[in-house]
Symmetry: C2
Subunit: 259 residues, 2 copies
């Protein structure tokens, strides 16, 4: 049985303020919770699940995890999803520290003030596909533990590390060792560039792009050519930020693939 | 002043059934409505706007367009947006016919049963960026005139033509003249392929991918290599459908760019 205190606590974790205060977040749905339990990403504190889910999964849930049975109706009340999916987990936020040095095949993402949780989730999922392990975010970027980010990342947040940090300092400290490519419509066409790894890609805010100080700190500006350049017709004003990140990761991985 | 009949009519157009019955759709927001009025995409029947918008725009609105003044409160009642933006237009659905032949630099998209309106909107915006002018959709693909598609496309629906049609027949009729690349995780790596235009890319449903009959009809299967192949770590199970479409468009445009 779920108590009123538990119910209030879980619902409060939909807000960043309370996630920060309690150092906890919520993950939902069978697939994500199973992956969470099996991974070393973070400690699951408790699961709130239907009787049948707990019976099925009993053997796979560590003993130190609280198991609370809830009715489908109660699950609806604590869920942030339109269609709750049998289980919800309360998880301690992990403390990940960036690596001391990057590996020779590392491709790194840096995000400045990315606002849309759906975009951040899509970027994490795509980064995971392309083997991007480290994402450095300015503190004003959307929160990884926003339920929408967790859902949109489709479990990929378990394999990708996000660090909220002063990205300007990070770029200044690292740009002598690794090339930093700032995505900007005024940059050089990515198709004309060659790349070495490790390297970093910087993606800016959905409407404002990258700030002047970040553009200045990055050595290189990189652009994704539109149909306009070769074909002289009117085109969209810009690409979606997640799409731009995905295309840059795909092209750089392709151009640096071991043959 | 808006009448109750008008209010009901506009709200009914949020549903495909009524858009189909009345051959009309709704577009919202200053930027999209201004672009619509200036474009030859379709006929605007009426605009419902705040007094100040109508005063500002009077000179740019053709005479045959009905202009109805609404209060911000009324606009909220007829809008499908969380934050309505001064104007909403009721528009006659256009009848676009596919070109008799494709141009020598045409890159074409074919979508099978793409379900998410946000994905379809993002695909249209990205297609527009890469100069993709023609998108052929299976009849069970999300509706172009769904308000979420219109919003996510960011005005790009005005420059891209969508045709809802029997895509299997379309592929069979065209695959002797143009190469048809079906996106499939089992396909050949796009990085190892060379391309000629005109060409077509086929993208499948978000969870099921492409159907067997479409995969069979397309001559070539194409895949986007993940980090896994070169780096042996676990990665995301798949890319988002819109992301896959965007990466394929970017790479094929890059490999066929006139130099």
């Amino acid at each position: 049985m779920i108590t009123t205190t538990q119910l209030k606590h879980i619902r409060s974790l939909q807000m960043k303020k309370f996630r920060d205060r309690h150092h906890q977040f919520v993950a939902e749905g069978e697939k994500i919770v199973q992956e969470l339990i099996a991974s070393d990403f973070a400690d699951v504190v408790s699961v709130y699940a239907t009787v049948d889910w707990i019976e099925e999964m009993e053997a796979h849930i560590p003993e130190n995890v609280d198991k609370v049975t809830v009715s489908p109706k109660q699950l609806e009340r604590i869920s942030s999803l339109k269609s709750p999916n049998r289980v919800l987990a309360v998880v301690n936020k992990p403390q990940h520290t960036p690596p001391a040095a990057f590996a020779k095949d590392d491709l790194i993402l840096i995000l400045e003030n990315l606002q849309d949780p759906g975009n951040l989730g899509t970027i994490i999922r795509t980064a995971d596909w392309f083997g991007v392990r480290h994402i450095f975010c300015s503190p004003d970027t959307a929160d990884l533990y926003n339920p929408k980010v967790i859902q949109a990342s489709m479990g990929s947040f378990l394999r990708t590390r996000l660090y909220y940090t002063d990205i300007l300092t990070f770029i200044k400290n690292n740009s002598s060792q690794i090339p930093v490519y700032a995505a900007s419509t005024g940059g050089e066409s990515l198709h004309n560039m060659s790349f070495t790894l490790p390297a970093a890609i910087v993606i800016g805010n959905e409407s404002k792009g990258l700030s002047e100080k970040i553009l200045k700190a990055a050595q290189k500006k990189i652009s994704i050519p539109s149909g306009k350049e070769s074909q002289q017709f009117e085109v969209a004003e810009s690409l979606n930020a997640a799409m731009a990140a995905g295309i840059l990761m795909a092209c750089i991985r392709s151009k640096t693939a071991a043959t």
